[in-house]
């Protein structure tokens, strides 16, 4: 497991009046998924790329599991950090399996082991190895290619992953599916992940913690999605979080964890499917015009319970 520490990291390009990244200090715990969210050009990608030295910082230190990245040979460093970009960048002349085996090959794994690993990863991202291993990238849809992109980044089992708007170019339905699969994957793998996006809702959905960045990658707020929605640090964060933050917070609360009254038989109440959130409960109430919804078959959740969830700041 590797934690990531950014200490006063600055990137100043020659001939620019202001630094692109200005004194960022940030701790990311091992196994944590941190989302950098901010408007285009705020320096979030630049900040991320300094972690695997695709961009070299002008000053400051970046520690990976306690080791300064500047002391590691860049290519060696990058082979141990998974890297996923929006445009995917699969190698079109290599099969899906060969794409995934590339980094293990660079690290000197033997052929059988990397081939087995590629199959295992295809399985993990939901692509049948028998059907897909010998295909070429151009034969896959965008969503399938992005899954291969994630599999390829995971190939050598890196403790750290950097993801630059990986789902940004997919249609909304595919994006949602990829996000859900990715959350399931991360629950299993517990990688330390830096995830860059300009989509605040995606940040709320995926992040253990969110760093809201403003110009020059300055951190406006670094906290859990719940707390950023409940108590934005300033107007900038509030405007970024957008409207209906109370509803967005409800989406973060799983319906299974809601308190409810025991329910013996289905008594005509609308019933929420498994895996829904408090927001889905509220949605059902509004749709059906009821003050109660059956959750998980066993309990009835009240409207008052939902209203009480957000404490006393829901009138913000």
């Amino acid at each position: 497991m590797s934690d990531i520490k950014l200490v006063n990291v600055t990137k100043q390009y020659d001939g620019q009046p202001l630094p692109a990244v200005d004194g960022v200090t940030l701790d990311i715990a091992a196994g944590e998924l941190v989302v950098f969210v901010g408007p285009s050009g705020c320096g979030k990608t630049t900040t991320m790329k300094m972690i695997n030295r695709l961009i070299e910082p002008t000053s400051g230190r970046i520690l990976l599991g306690g080791t300064d990245v500047m002391s590691i040979e860049p290519n060696e460093l990058r082979r141990h950090i998974g890297y996923v970009i929006q445009q995917i960048g699969l190698f079109p002349h290599m099969t899906i399996s060969e794409n995934i085996q590339l980094v293990p090959g660079l690290l000197g794994w033997d052929k059988t082991r990397s081939r087995r690993r590629a199959d295992e990863l295809l399985e993990l991202v939901g692509l049948d190895p028998v059907a897909y291993r010998d295909r070429y990238p151009r034969q896959l849809s965008g969503g399938q290619q992005q899954r291969v992109g994630v599999a390829r980044a995971l190939a050598a089992d890196p403790p750290v992953m950097l993801m630059d708007e990986p789902f940004g170019a997919t249609d909304p339905i595919t994006r949602e599916r990829l996000q859900n699969e990715f959350l399931r994957l991360q629950a299993e793998l517990r990688k330390t992940i830096v995830f860059v996006t300009h989509d605040f809702d995606e940040a709320v959905k995926l992040g253990d913690r969110i760093a809201v960045l403003e110009e020059r990658s300055r951190i406006a707020q670094y906290d859990t999605p719940e707390r950023i929605l409940a108590t934005p640090a300033d107007d900038y964060v509030a405007s970024f979080a957008g409207s209906a933050t109370a509803i967005k917070r409800l989406a973060l609360i799983p319906a299974e964890r809601l308190p409810g009254k025991p329910l013996n038989v289905a008594n005509g109440l609308p019933t929420l499917d498994k895996g829904g959130s408090a927001r889905d409960v509220l949605d059902l109430m509004i749709r059906w015009g009821t003050a109660q919804v059956a959750v998980d078959g066993g309990k009835a959740v009240d409207f008052e319970t939902i209203c009480g969830l957000l404490g006393d700041d829901h009138g913000r």
Partner: protein
């Protein structure tokens, strides 16, 4: 003597000259491909270096072939050596230019992911860029080959191999019995060879283009 009787009588000689013609072109193109791709690989990154390489190879192409061959005699004597050197010099431009273009045309996302995965610059060129650029490079090789079939006929002036000898002796003896037959046989041979090679390139392209680019 009519043309068909001429062909019949001289068939063995003509075949041998054609084989030599094909061999000298093939050998020159192989050498030029090795050199041109290497020059392209070494210079593509810098607009200046590749610009110089392309300009120099373009300038070489403007030297009249007869003059170049004559200039090579004091250095390399007669026969195959000056012929091959001259042909290599003439075929460099399309190969270098297409190599540079091909290496540069690789999708930026592919290059970024290669870099992000920890491929060195050299690994990226040999394992990613060259395979992807190959169809473009091969197009350059094909253009060079077509050009060389014509230029190679001039090699007869320095006692080089090939069908040029047939044409040359035809032109030298204009008015004599078989002069026209010679010139026509030589020229037709060159054209047929060039067509055959061009056709072969279609197959070569199919065989050597990475499968993932054909699907």
């Amino acid at each position: 003597m009519d043309f068909s009787r001429y062909l019949e009588r001289r068939w063995d000689d003509l075949l041998e000259q054609a084989a030599q013609h094909a061999a000298v072109v093939a050998l020159s193109v192989l050498l030029a491909t090795a050199i041109g791709v290497l020059v392209g690989v070494l210079t593509w990154r810098s607009a200046r270096a590749s610009g110089v390489a392309i300009s120099v190879s373009a300038a070489l192409l403007t030297i009249p072939s007869l003059a170049l061959l004559a200039l090579l005699i004091p250095l390399l004597g007669l026969g195959w050596a000056p012929t091959i050197v001259a042909l290599v010099v003439y075929s460099l431009l399309p190969i270098i230019r297409n190599t540079v273009t091909g290496l540069r045309s690789v999708d930026l996302a592919v290059l970024e992911s290669a870099r992000g995965m920890g491929l060195t610059g050299r690994q990226t060129v040999w394992r990613v860029q060259l395979p992807l650029a190959w169809p473009i490079i091969l197009t350059g090789v094909r253009v060079s080959t077509q050009m060389l079939f014509a230029i190679a006929t001039i090699a007869a002036y320095v006692a080089g191999p090939g069908l040029g000898n047939e044409i040359l002796s035809g032109l030298a003896g204009l008015g004599s019995a078989n002069a026209l037959n010679k010139a026509i046989a030589g020229t037709a041979g060159v054209v047929l060879l060039a067509l055959a090679f061009d056709f072969a390139f279609v197959g070569l392209r199919r065989v050597t283009t990475p499968r993932g680019l054909r699907v």
